[in-house]
Each structure stands twice: as structure tokens, then as C-alpha cells.
């Protein structure tokens, strides 16, 4: 089991960074640039791990990234990666979808604590923006998840995957929910138009302002782990999971690309605009999907 | 022109209301049948031979409904105390003496005093025989003092004596009521021998004349006090204002 966990983390680490690299690359190409290599982010993280850390604001500043990474890793191990194998099944069965929903917030909280300890106004600004965005951002995703749980009558992800084998994929059965969840996902990946917390153009690095060296590296690494976990989760929920590594990469990549393409097209919302938007159209779409399940399912 | 003065609406409405009430009450009372039940008074009349007072009203007042009279005396006493409470304090502060008005008036009133008091006493003592009694007699006595005050503004009553008479007669009256309980096992029992003589004689009727005499003393002194306070009030006001 321990071996499997390590394997999974490594897989996620690599795939996550590659996707991140691809993200930068594709964005650049669309914007008519060349962009860095696919592995650039990977190199960055390795480099940062070995760099000197210039700044520390006490133990909470130290622990914040660790908590965040812990949250990401925990999320990762609790998401069933392969649908038909026993891979980490004994671990994933200990949790469920609700655990994941809340674990996804635990990490950012740890980070936010560290940022707060740092006391940099820009960092706090980013945190506040992120938390405010959360009000709207999670809503469509929650609705989608609730819809799926009610449809499957279980909050167990494995069960949801199993249901899709017989009843067909959720993306086909519940397209409205999928759309809602995808819009939320755009935000989760920090892509436009919801990339408010980082907002590179305005606050020069948002929550990460004061981090450097191994902390930044840790944050980057957990970001890629987390991104992978989220992608797998979406795949599990809507695309019936993946029974092999190839399928996994294929499906996650598809989702990933979709997110990128959405993200690149739009400019960034202001935070209240984002929340306002998210509370209207995506929520409405998701609620319609949900109503279909509850009243007509 | 003030419309309110020309048409005192409130007065008109109230007078109309009073008239309407008058008409309907009179209409109502006209239908009253008064002889549905035998009045308790006729029973008292039949019982009156036992009490041996020639005046049935007196026996009702002092005996059959005797406790009413205790209450009544108390009411008068309380009113006197109230009047005294109100008017005594200011009178003490203003203690001037004014000139004698007229000697003839003074002497005449003194002459009349004894006659009036005697008449009052007669009314009191014969309360159980003829119309009259303690209250009436007491008031007559008070008029004697009124005359005195009118004639001589400097006149002062001896409060000590009045209080003594008032207190003692009152206390005795209450004791008479209580003695009845011990003698006859009933409050205000007629424990004195009666009828002692013929109905219509002065000494007859047991406690009835006793009670009326006590009432007479009490009412006489109380009314005198009231009269004094009111008369002097007016008088002192004039004196003090001057």
C-alpha cells in the first residue's frame, strides 16, 4: 500500500507538472508565443527545492505550505485512480466524496494561515479574494456533486464509477451537471476568468508573495498533485473513471485541454463579478440538471 | 364671535342626555311594583314592642341596624378628623385677635346658647320617644356654637373638653356594643332591662336611649369642631389677608 501511495504521488507529480508545462505551452501558442518547454515547471520545482530560502516569518509560515501539501496528498490518495483495479482501493474506501470536497479546502486554509503570518498586504489580498471567490466558485461544483450522489444514492466514488458502467457515463446522462462542474473547475485550476487570487498582473503573486525557495517549491509541487487529483476526480465522476494508465491520461488530458481552452478565451473577472456570474448562469445550469435528477430521475 | 360660547355643545348634549335618562328612568320606575315582598320594616314594627322604644325609627337606627349607626358615627368622626387634618395646621400659624364686633350680639348669643343647647339635649334624650335623637340633637347643639362663633370671632372652643367628650362617648358606645356580646352572647345586645316601664316613658327601651345619648354627645362635639374649623377658616382668611 505504501508503495502504491508513493507510486501514485510520483505519477501525479510527473503528470501534474507535465500538464502544467503543457498549459503554459498551449497558452503561449494560442497567444502567438513559443512559451517554455513542457518540462520547465518541473525543472523549476527541482531548482527551487535546492535554493536558499531567504525569508521566514516563524513556525506558522513554515507549517502553512506543509499543511497545504498534506491536504493535496491526502486528497490524492483518497481519489480512486483506476476504476477496475484494487489499486489503493483499501485507502479510497476510507473516505468519500464529501471528505474530498472538504479536504480540497483544507490545504488552501493552511496556506492562508502562512500568508497571514507573513503579514504581506498583497498576500492577504490574494487570500481574501480567493475566499470570496469560493462563495461562488464552489456552488456549481457542489450542485453537480450532490446531483451525482443523489443519482447514485451513494457518496462513495467507486460506487459512482460502478453505476456509470451500467447506466452510461454521467457526462451523457447529466450533461448540465457536467457543464456546471466544468465551469467551477476552470476556477479551481486558477484559469481565467476566475484566476483572481493569483492575479499576476495586479497583485504580483497573490498568496505566494512572500514564499520562496523550498516553500515555493512545495507549493508548486502540491499544486500539480492537487491538479492531478482534481482531474482524476472529474474523470471518475463524469467519465466513468479509467481502467488503465492510458485511459487515465487520455481522459484527464481531455478535461484539462477543455479547461485550458475555456480559460484562455476570457479575460479576468473582478471578484464580485465572478461571484455574481457563478451564482447565475452556471448555478442555474447545474440546478436544472439537479432538478432533473431529483424530480424526474 | 365665538361659536363655542354661543353653542355650548357639551352642555346641550349633556342636558339632552339627562332629559332622556330622566324620561326613561321615570318610565321605568313608574312600572315598579313595590309590594312584591313583605318589607323587613313591618317585621321590625311587630318586634318593636319588645325593644320598648316608642319611636320605631330610633329602635331601627340604634338597635335593629345598630351597627350601621356605629359605622355612621365613625364616618362622622373620620370626616371630622379629616377636616381637622386639613384645616388645623394653617389656623395655628395665624393667631391674631380682632376687634370685638358688637356687645349686644355677643351677649344675645350667649343668652341663646343655653336655650339652644337645652333644646338639643331634649331632642337627644327624647330620641326614643319622639322624632329626633342623637344626630339631630347633636347638630342642634352645634348650631349653638355656630351662633357663638358668628357673634364673636375671637371665640375659641376648648378642644380638650370636646375631645374628651367625643372620645369617651365613642369608646363607651363601642364598649356598649361589646358588652352585649358578653351579656347576651350577641353584639349590641340589649343587655339593659327592658321594658322597664311603659312604652313612651323616658326610662324605657334598654340601651336605646343610652346609645342615643352617647351618639348625641359625640355628634354634638364633632359637629361643633367642624363648625369651628369652617367658620374660623373664613374668618382667619380675612384676617390674614388684611
Amino acid at each position: 500500500m505504501i508503495f502504491q501511495i508513493i507510486l501514485l504521488i510520483m505519477l501525479a507529480y510527473v503528470v501534474g507538472f507535465i500538464y502544467f508545462g503543457l498549459y503554459r505551452n498551449i497558452t503561449a501558442r494560442i497567444q502567438g508565443r513559443y512559451g517554455p518547454t513542457v518540462y520547465q515547471s518541473f525543472y523549476d520545482s527541482i531548482k527551487l527545492f535546492s535554493k536558499n530560502n531567504t525569508v521566514s516569518y516563524g513556525w506558522m509560515f513554515y507549517l502553512g505550505p506543509v499543511i497545504m501539501a498534506t491536504g493535496a496528498v491526502l486528497t490524492l490518495v483518497l481519489v480512486p485512480v483506476f476504476s477496475d483495479s484494487d489499486f489503493l482501493r483499501s485507502v479510497t474506501s476510507q473516505g468519500n466524496l464529501f471528505v474530498l470536497l472538504y479536504l480540497m479546502v483544507l490545504g488552501p486554509l493552511g496556506n492562508a494561515l502562512a500568508v497571514g503570518t507573513g503579514g504581506n498586504p498583497f498576500g492577504v489580498m490574494g487570500v481574501v479574494r480567493g475566499l470570496t471567490r469560493l462563495i461562488g466558485l464552489e456552488l456549481p461544483f457542489y450542485i453537480a456533486v450532490v446531483g451525482l450522489i443523489i443519482a447514485a444514492n451513494s457518496s462513495d466514488i467507486v460506487h459512482i464509477i460502478d453505476v456509470q458502467k451500467t447506466a452510461g457515463l454521467n457526462i451523457i446522462n447529466h450533461p448540465l451537471l457536467f457543464i456546471g462542474a466544468m465551469i467551477s473547475m476552470v476556477g479551481f485550476f486558477g484559469a481565467s476568468p476566475f484566476d483572481i487570487p493569483g492575479a499576476p498582473q495586479e497583485v504580483y503573486s497573490g498568496p505566494r508573495t512572500e514564499f520562496s525557495g523550498k516553500f515555493l517549491a512545495l507549493l508548486m509541487s502540491q499544486g500539480s498533485l492537487f491538479a492531478f487529483a482534481k482531474l482524476v476526480l472529474i474523470v471518475d465522476l463524469f467519465l466513468g473513471g479509467a481502467d488503465s494508465l492510458v485511459m487515465l491520461v487520455l481522459k484527464t488530458f481531455t478535461i484539462f485541454v477543455a479547461i485550458i481552452f475555456i480559460g484562455i478565451v476570457y479575460g479576468r473577472y473582478k471578484v464580485e463579478q465572478a461571484v455574481d456570474f457563478l451564482m447565475k448562469l452556471p448555478t442555474l445550469i447545474a440546478v436544472l440538471g439537479l432538478a432533473r435528477i431529483v424530480w424526474f430521475g | 364671535m365665538n361659536l363655542k360660547k354661543v353653542l355650548p355643545l357639551k352642555h346641550i348634549v349633556l342636558s339632552l342626555l339627562s332629559s332622556a335618562l330622566l324620561l326613561s328612568v321615570v318610565g321605568l320606575l313608574m312600572q315598579v311594583k313595590t309590594d312584591m315582598f313583605k318589607n323587613v320594616g313591618t317585621i321590625y314594627l311587630n318586634l318593636n314592642m319588645q325593644t320598648a322604644a316608642a319611636n320605631a325609627v330610633t329602635s331601627v337606627v340604634t338597635f335593629f341596624r345598630g351597627i350601621d349607626t356605629v359605622g355612621e358615627v365613625t364616618v362622622l368622626f373620620l370626616a371630622t378628623s379629616g377636616v381637622a387634618l386639613m384645616l388645623s395646621a394653617t389656623q395655628r400659624t395665624c393667631d391674631k385677635v380682632v376687634k370685638q364686633e358688637s356687645f349686644i350680639l355677643n351677649a344675645g348669643s350667649r343668652l341663646l346658647l343655653s336655650v339652644i343647647i337645652l333644646f338639643g339635649v331634649y331632642i337627644i334624650i327624647h330620641g326614643h320617644l319622639s322624632p329626633g335623637g342623637g344626630f339631630q340633637g347633636g347638630v342642634v347643639i352645634a348650631t349653638a356654637f355656630l351662633l357663638l362663633f358668628l357673634a364673636n370671632p375671637n371665640m375659641k372652643l376648648s378642644h380638650g373638653i370636646l375631645t374628651l367628650g367625643e372620645s369617651l362617648s365613642g369608646a363607651t358606645y363601642v364598649l356598649v356594643v361589646i358588652i352585649g356580646l358578653f351579656k347576651m352572647n350577641i353584639l349590641l345586645g340589649n343587655f339593659l332591662p327592658h321594658p322597664i316601664g311603659e312604652i313612651g316613658e323616658l326610662i324605657s327601651g334598654g340601651i336605646i336611649p343610652v346609645v342615643y345619648i352617647l351618639v348625641g354627645i359625640k355628634v354634638g362635639s364633632e359637629m361643633s369642631v367642624i363648625v369651628e374649623y369652617f367658620v374660623k377658616e373664613d374668618y382667619y382668611k380675612e384676617v390674614c389677608d388684611a
Binding site: - | L14, L21, V25, T34, N46, N48, D68, M86, E233
Partner: protein, 125 residues
């Protein structure tokens, strides 16, 4: 003509009308008069009306005062003594209240120079 008046019914009727008229004059008085003395007088008028009413209604033709004397040895065909006793009591009470009221009035007048009851409004919040 005299026979007509020598009739209990008629006498009662006259007494009712008269006493009630008096009563409602007093009623009108307390409702409209604002002078304390006048109000007290109105009360007295009302009370007097009641005395008249009560005593009057208990008089019947042929009955005499309830006192025995040399000519009348028994208590028969006499008027009811109870109303008279009651009225006696009520008169004294009325007198007592009147005296008390007047003493209040005098004292109040001394303090304020007013005897208008509608203007007694120092007791307010």
C-alpha cells in the same frame, strides 16, 4: 280633586317625577359644572333627590309616623321605619363627605387659588 291627590299611586307618581327631575338636575350639574363647590352641591342635590324618592315611595295614604304615643298604642298602620333609618344614616354620611370635600377644596384653594376641577392637572406624567 283632593281625592285625586289623596291617592297613593298619584303621590308616588309625583314623587318619582319630582325626585328624578331633581336627581337628573344634579346629574347635569356634575357633568357640566367645573367649580368644585358646585360639583359638591350637585352631589348633594342628587343625594337629596334620592332621599326624597326613597322616603316618598314608602309613604302610603293612611299610614302615620312609626311612633306610639298616648293615642296610638300599637305599631300598626305605620310607615316602614327602615327607609327613614337608612336615610338618616345616609344624610350623615353625605354631610361627612361634603365637609371633607369642602375642607380639601379650601386647602387646595389656599395653595393654588383654583377651584376649577377640570384644571386640576398637576398629577400627570
Amino acid at each position: 280633586m283632593l281625592d285625586f291627590f289623596n291617592n297613593t299611586q298619584t303621590i308616588h307618581m309625583i314623587i318619582i317625577i319630582g325626585s328624578m327631575a331633581l336627581f337628573f338636575i344634579g346629574f347635569y350639574g356634575i357633568a357640566t359644572q367645573k367649580n368644585l363647590v358646585k360639583v359638591l352641591v350637585s352631589f348633594d342635590i342628587m343625594e337629596s333627590a334620592l332621599f326624597l324618592f326613597f322616603i316618598g315611595l314608602h309613604y302610603q295614604v293612611g299610614l302615620v309616623a312609626p311612633i306610639v304615643d298616648k293615642n296610638l298604642k300599637t305599631f300598626t298602620s305605620m310607615v316602614d321605619p327602615v327607609p327613614q333609618a337608612m336615610i338618616l344614616t345616609t344624610i350623615v354620611i353625605g354631610l361627612a363627605v361634603l365637609a371633607l370635600g369642602l375642607s380639601f377644596g379650601i386647602e387646595y384653594y389656599k395653595l393654588t387659588g383654583r377651584n376649577d376641577i377640570s384644571k386640576m392637572n398637576e398629577l400627570r406624567d
